[in-house]
Amino acid sequence: MNCIRGAPVALWLQSRLRTSVSNPRREPEEVLLNARPRHIFYLAALTTAFVFVLATLWSYWLEHVVGHEHVGDALDAANAEHWRFVVTATLAAGAAWAISLPLCLTYVRRMRRAEEIFRHFSTTLDQTLDCVFMFRPDTLRFFYVNRGATEQVGYGRDELMRMTPIDVKPEFTESRFRALIAPLIDGSQRSCEFETVHRHKDGTLIPVEISLQYVAPEDETPRFVAIVRDVTGRKQAEEELQRSEERFRAIVNNSPAKIHIKDMAGRYLLVNPLAEQLFCVSEAECLGKTSREIFGKSQADAFMAHDQAVIDTGRPIEEEETWVEADGMHTYLTVKFPIFDQSGAMTAIGAIGTDITERKRIEAQLRQSQKMDSLGSLAGGIAHDLNNTLVPVMGLTELALEDLPEGGAGRENLEKALAGCERAKKLVAQILAFSRPQKPDRTTVELGDLIGEAVTLLRATLPTTIDIVTDLDPIVEPVLADPVQMHQVLMNLASNARQALGLKPGTLKITLRQVETGRTRMPPGIKLRAGLYAKLSISDTGPGMDQATLERIFDPFFTTKPVGEGTGMGLAVVHGIVTSHKGAIAVSSKPGRGATFEIYLPVQRALAAASAPPEAAE
């Protein structure tokens, strides 16, 4: 009876609660989600009422069913027993209820608080942009996902509860995934960050970054919490950056200009292939070093001074930088410019250098030809006036000389005056020859023969201290030239060599060869149409010339001889004649190493081929 009185109510409630909490299939979170504290309250009241009804029914059964089977006088006693039981049972139930009510209320309050906390977390997690997945270490099944997670992979919560991380990670197999999480379970690793892709329900792949943690609180089922972040935007930005970097590299690497970037301390940060070639060091060797560690001090100082100018002004500057390369001195027009970061602070200095050697050469040529032209006009005018002035000076001296008797006083003076006039006349003639590149009388000239004649004349006129050597290749084809002018060219060059040699013993060598453009290396500065050329070289073993002299050697009126000895027109005339023959002239010399003039004249066959219109074959 005692066990019937009251016990079942509390027991039932307790067991029900215990069962709910300890059910391994149902999660505490789920219970919390489903539990309604008010329901428990109602349940307690209902149970009390039910016990009361049950006790009443039982007393009724005792009175009407059991009572009939007993003797009549026992009925009162049973009746009294019955009512006593009803009251006792009801009181017991009430007492049990009264005892359990505060417990119930406490529980309800706890539940309500837990529910509140959970709802708070749940809402927060759902509002979080990152996706939260929780799964069991054994089955790998998800047991919690936030809203972001469902949205990311496109599955509903219920669907996901039947899935595992492998179902949304196409890059992983189960074994691979288990291998990944194993160190987390055994505690050798606290968390694991990795990048992979998630497959959306519609098949779209989403690049994600995952932070995975193993959570194993005491008395609770261990679980994995995965915070998953969609990195599509970042990936796109990274790819865009990569593409931009590739484009930048392609431009820098294929640029015909030398490009380099230095940091504010002058250390190289970037060197393109052309710059590597020029610096004769690889980019790897250059990076992190300053100009001082790569170039000579003076060169490095010049470069660093330019860098400093950029740092000081914060503006781009243009500088001409010169380099000695395998084929000679090169000039670069280098633009140096500051590179700023987002805050506007200067972080580096960039440089782009273009080889302007050819441009400079052409400019110099143009300047030279303009100078020649203007000098030509000037010279023509001067020559005309000088010639007119010379007429009376020369003519009257001659007349005066005629009037004086042989051996008469003053005759010698007049003869000297006349000789001076003759020299002046020749000078003016040379100036005129230069100013008037008259159309030469072109004819077929065998240069070998012409040189032979000239040498005969030279042997008669040059001092015996000068040895004349010729080396003439007989295969050289004839050229179309004015023989008189060619003769003048030879004589002028020979006279130049004689003056260079002075009275010291030396050799004048004349060489004749046939060359073809493209096959033979041409001296720098020589630009000729493709074809066959006769190459006439005249070299002497004289003292040679320095670079400054070489640069001005063909300038009219430029002479290294003492005033009154040279006209400065000889080589200018040679230059004019050679150019008018569609040829070219070059000079090479070094102090103490003699000088060599090389003249290139197109052979007649080449000229004919160039000018003849293409004819139909017959």
Partner: protein, 124 residues
């Protein structure tokens, strides 16, 4: 001996050439430019005209053309200190315009006299 008209704008040149020619026995009269020369030839006949090219008022080549038009048989010698018109040499132009002989200044006496003889067709 020939009668020669000497045309040059420079007095010193005329003086010098005149002395040279006279020494060889030629009869010389002068003009300072082409127009004066044409006027002078109206009153006096010349066997030979020696003319400069670059002169004021009427320059040499034009004078040669005019002289040649008036008297195709007149002997003309051009003499110049050089210079050019376009790509052509003055003396070159002069000979194309009808000068029988051209001579560059400055000139030696013998050279001048030989040229005069040649132009006049005399045996030197």
């Amino acid at each position: 001996m020939a009668c020669i008209l000497l045309v040059d704008d420079e007095e010193a040149v005329r003086y010098t050439l005149r002395r040279m020619l006279e020494r060889a026995g030629h009869d010389v009269f002068e003009a300072t430019n082409g127009r004066e020369a044409l006027i002078a030839l109206k009153s006096k006949r010349a066997d030979l005209v020696i003319t400069d090219i670059v002169m004021p008022v009427k320059e040499g080549t034009e004078t040669i053309l005019e002289l040649r038009r008036r008297d195709p048989s007149l002997k003309i010698m051009a003499i110049s200190g050089g210079g050019r018109t376009g790509n052509m040499d003055y003396l070159d132009v002069a000979s194309r315009f009808g000068a029988d002989y051209t001579l560059a200044k400055p000139v030696r006496m013998q050279e001048l006299l030989d040229a005069v003889s040649t132009t006049l067709g005399e045996v030197a």
